[in-house]
């Protein structure tokens, strides 16, 4: 408390001299090759140091052991990094030039890392990008080049209380028109709230923007030079979101912290939620195996006027410019993107493969819940890849909160978002 937090806040910046007024940044960025230098097909060798986050960091050594079998001269050293604040760790590493060879990157952070000039472009011919889900590839691109290789994907679908739906005699909604009546029916059979929607907590945008996509909105102009939030389609999506709250299908005070929603869903006070494949595990620990089997239904998101687009997230792999074993790192990444290895990884971790052909056999091909996510992946989209996207999402969260709490209208919110996003710019 009494220590100087100011000094701590200020610490950790780059050194900039006041006197540098004369030598400004040159506005034209030099023309660069669209891809990195090719990597040969020989087995990898040497030590490959990688950072991986969360559960992936804990499980990756098992996969790396397989890699070492195929590449006896290579050794992968995995450092597990917590998801929380990993972005700052990567940015600090890039700034100081003291990096490992490769790192896992969360889909939203790639543009920010690439813009710092710390990531290598993916070598030409390393992988065939068309084998991945398009949404996953989309999130590895920055300013016309690829800086990452998709690894696993996640997307969100509709989880609902199957038992309440059966009691009410309704089946999962397929369109926006069926959405409200479906939730209303579940509410009439005991649930206090129909659908759980975030209303302002961090990353609320990931739940609201899909409504806009479903209505046909594009958040950015085709040339990537400006944001386009204030459009009739976006408004349709935002009004649809608002209507859940005004018609009392959703709580105006949505969940704020992780783990808040599962107990309510198990208790039956909330009848539906939108979440990713990890939700099954969370519900199992909150309600038990039998609860998930008997009472949880999973369905694709109901389609709006244009599509039933969901948000796509996931993990990808990037190699640092300051990598010591650059070739080895890319070889490891190439190996991990092979369909067979992706299947092995799914078996180890439950992460959904980013390579489409990895889904052709086993549980990935036959499991009905996974089939829902698989369908969802074909239309799932990621947010725009600009360095300023994180800042824009903070504006989105704040304005969506105003809509949810009834202090702003969708129209006014989009106008405000448009204006502030234009001020922030796309980092061009």
């Amino acid at each position: 408390m009494f220590s100087s937090r100011v000094a701590k806040t200020l610490a950790g910046g780059a050194a900039v001299a006041l006197l540098m007024a004369g030598c400004g940044r040159s506005d034209a960025r030099s023309a660069e090759a669209p891809a990195g230098a090719a990597v040969d097909t020989q087995p990898a060798n040497g030590t490959i140091t990688v950072w991986a986050m969360g559960t992936e960091g804990e499980l990756l050594p098992k996969l790396a052991a397989e890699f070492s079998k195929a590449n006896p001269d290579a050794k992968v050293e995995v450092t597990a990094v917590p998801w929380q604040d990993y972005a700052k760790k990567v940015q600090t590493a890039i700034a100081s030039g003291d990096t490992p060879d490769a790192t896992m990157v969360g889909a939203v952070d790639l543009a920010a890392f690439a813009s710092m000039g710390g990531l290598e472009k993916v070598p030409s011919g390393l992988v065939d990008q068309s084998t991945f889900y398009p949404g996953a590839v989309q999130s590895t691109e920055f300013e016309g080049a690829e800086y990452g290789v998709p690894w696993y994907v996640e997307t969100r679908s509709l989880f609902y209380r199957k038992d309440l739906a059966q009691a009410a005699g309704v089946s999962a909604p397929k369109t926006w028109d069926e959405y409200g009546p479906f939730l209303k029916a579940l509410q009439q059979h005991g649930a206090k709230w129909g659908l759980s929607l975030p209303t302002g907590a961090n990353a609320t945008w990931q739940s609201v923007v899909p409504f806009m996509w479903q209505a046909g909105a594009e958040l950015m102009s085709a040339d990537g030079k400006q944001f386009t939030f204030d459009t009739p389609d976006a408004r349709k999506g935002l009004e649809f979101y608002q209507q859940f709250i005004t018609s009392k299908l959703s709580n105006p005070n949505g969940p704020v912290s992780l783990g808040e929603i599962e107990p309510q869903f198990v208790a039956g006070s909330t009848a539906a939620l939108i979440s990713g494949p990890w939700e099954e595990g969370l519900l199992k620990s909150a309600g038990g195996e039998a609860f998930v089997k008997d009472k949880v239904g999973v369905a694709p998101l109901p389609a709006g006027p244009k599509s039933n687009a969901s948000y796509i997230g996931g993990g990808q792999w990037s190699v640092f410019k300051d990598a010591r074993n650059r070739d080895g790192a890319w070889k490891f990444i190439r190996w991990m993107s092979a369909p067979e290895v992706q299947k092995t990884w799914y078996g180890l971790s439950g992460d959904l493969p980013a390579v489409q052909s990895a889904w052709s056999e086993g549980k990935l091909a036959t499991d009905p819940t996974l089939a829902v996510f698989r369908d969802q992946l074909t239309t799932a989209q990621s947010g725009p890849n600009t360095t300023t996207w994180r800042q824009v999402t903070a504006v989105l969260d704040a304005e969506f909160e105003k809509v949810a709490k009834g202090v702003s209208t969708p129209q006014a919110a989009l106008k405000e978002i448009q204006q502030r996003a234009s001020t922030i710019g796309t980092g061009e």
């Binding site: 408390m1 009494f2 100087s4 937090r5 100011v6 000094a7 806040t9 200020l10 610490a11 950790g12 910046g13 780059a14 050194a15 900039v16 001299a17 006041l18 540098m20 007024a21 030598c23 400004g24 940044r25 040159s26 700052k88 940015q91 890039i94 700034a95 030039g97 920010a112 813009s115 710092m116 000039g117 710390g118 302002g200 907590a201 961090n202 005070n253 704020v256 912290s257 360095t387 300023t388 994180r390 800042q391 903070a394 704040a398 909160e401 105003k402 709490k405 202090v407 980092g427």
Partner: protein, 289 residues
């Protein structure tokens, strides 16, 4: 070099080196960052940035989010400092006289919030502030329907102020306790002999003698409270509707966005506010001393 000088440097050198690296250097570099257009993009080529003068500072005051943060911070300081001081002084007086037995236990008890991890505190207080949590259940007993504390834009800040005061009164209490113990007993005794009541003796003897202690506490608290950060960070993420975003939180967010120039400028606005408030407090308390 004389032997004595050498020895002196041997002892002071490590501290000076550390302080220069982690104390002075960040302050100087962030001051210079606040007048350039540096962003995360420039981090590997820091000498390519442009000098932009005070434009970040003017942009800050044109940003409604920052203005809101500034108002929130002042609200927190204006409510938090008097509350903390009154509670700390009252408890210090109680500990100094009233409670004879188990004094040590109370001192430790009141001081415990200061040393407990803020994350652990946040978990517990979030439960307390739930719409049907312990606080509202207690209010319901006396017939008051409590608000949804952390989700209500009018109540989130008071809720955080209560939590912050609870968390921080320990150190001021200990300082007041030390001050109280230095009040000469014979002065109080002679006041009592002259017929003063306990309260009169406290008002006219103890309080004036506590003036230097009060100054220390007030300055320390305003430095700490102006940097209001941890409570909104762990409890509300600055919400709902921006009602608990503070200047520090705003600066933290800007760093996260890679806007190092803006973030540094916001930090320096805070430095200026702290300097100004401390100066005013020194003037007030010294003038009467």
């Amino acid at each position: 070099m004389a032997r004595r000088t050498f020895v002196a440097w041997g002892f002071c050198g490590p501290f000076i080196a550390l302080f220069a690296t982690f104390g002075v250097w960040p302050v100087v570099s962030s001051l210079s960052m606040s007048v350039t257009d540096i962003t995360a993009r420039d981090i590997r080529t820091p000498f390519s940035v442009d000098f932009v003068g005070v434009s970040h500072y003017t942009a800050l005051f044109g940003d409604p989010v920052f203005r809101r943060a500034a108002v929130n911070t002042l609200y927190f300081v204006a409510a938090g400092i008097p509350l903390t001081m009154i509670i700390a002084l009252a408890l210090a007086v109680a500990l100094n006289s009233g409670i004879r037995r188990a004094k040590a236990l109370f001192r430790v008890g009141y001081f415990a919030p200061v040393v407990t991890s803020v994350v652990a505190i946040a978990v517990v207080w979030r439960y307390l502030y739930e719409p049907d949590g312990m606080i509202n259940s207690a209010l319901a007993v006396i017939g008051i329907h409590g608000p949804d504390w952390l989700n209500d834009p009018h109540w989130a800040m008071p809720a955080l102020i209560v939590m912050a005061v609870w968390r921080h009164f320990g150190i001021p209490m200990v300082i007041f306790l030390a001050g109280l113990q230095s009040v000469p007993a014979d002065l109080l005794e002679s006041a009592r002999v002259d017929g003063a009541t306990r309260w009169q003796a406290f008002r006219n003897v103890t309080l004036p003698l506590l003036r230097p202690t009060t100054l220390v506490v007030a300055v320390l608290l305003s430095i700490g409270y102006l940097q209001f950060f941890e409570e909104p960070f762990v409890m509300t993420s600055g919400g709902p509707l921006g009602s608990t975003t503070s200047i520090s939180y705003y600066a933290y967010q800007q760093f996260g966005f890679g806007n190092y120039g803006m973030a540094s400028a916001a930090s320096y606005v805070l430095v200026a506010a702290i300097a100004l408030l401390s100066f005013v407090q020194f003037r007030i308390f010294r003038a009467k001393a």
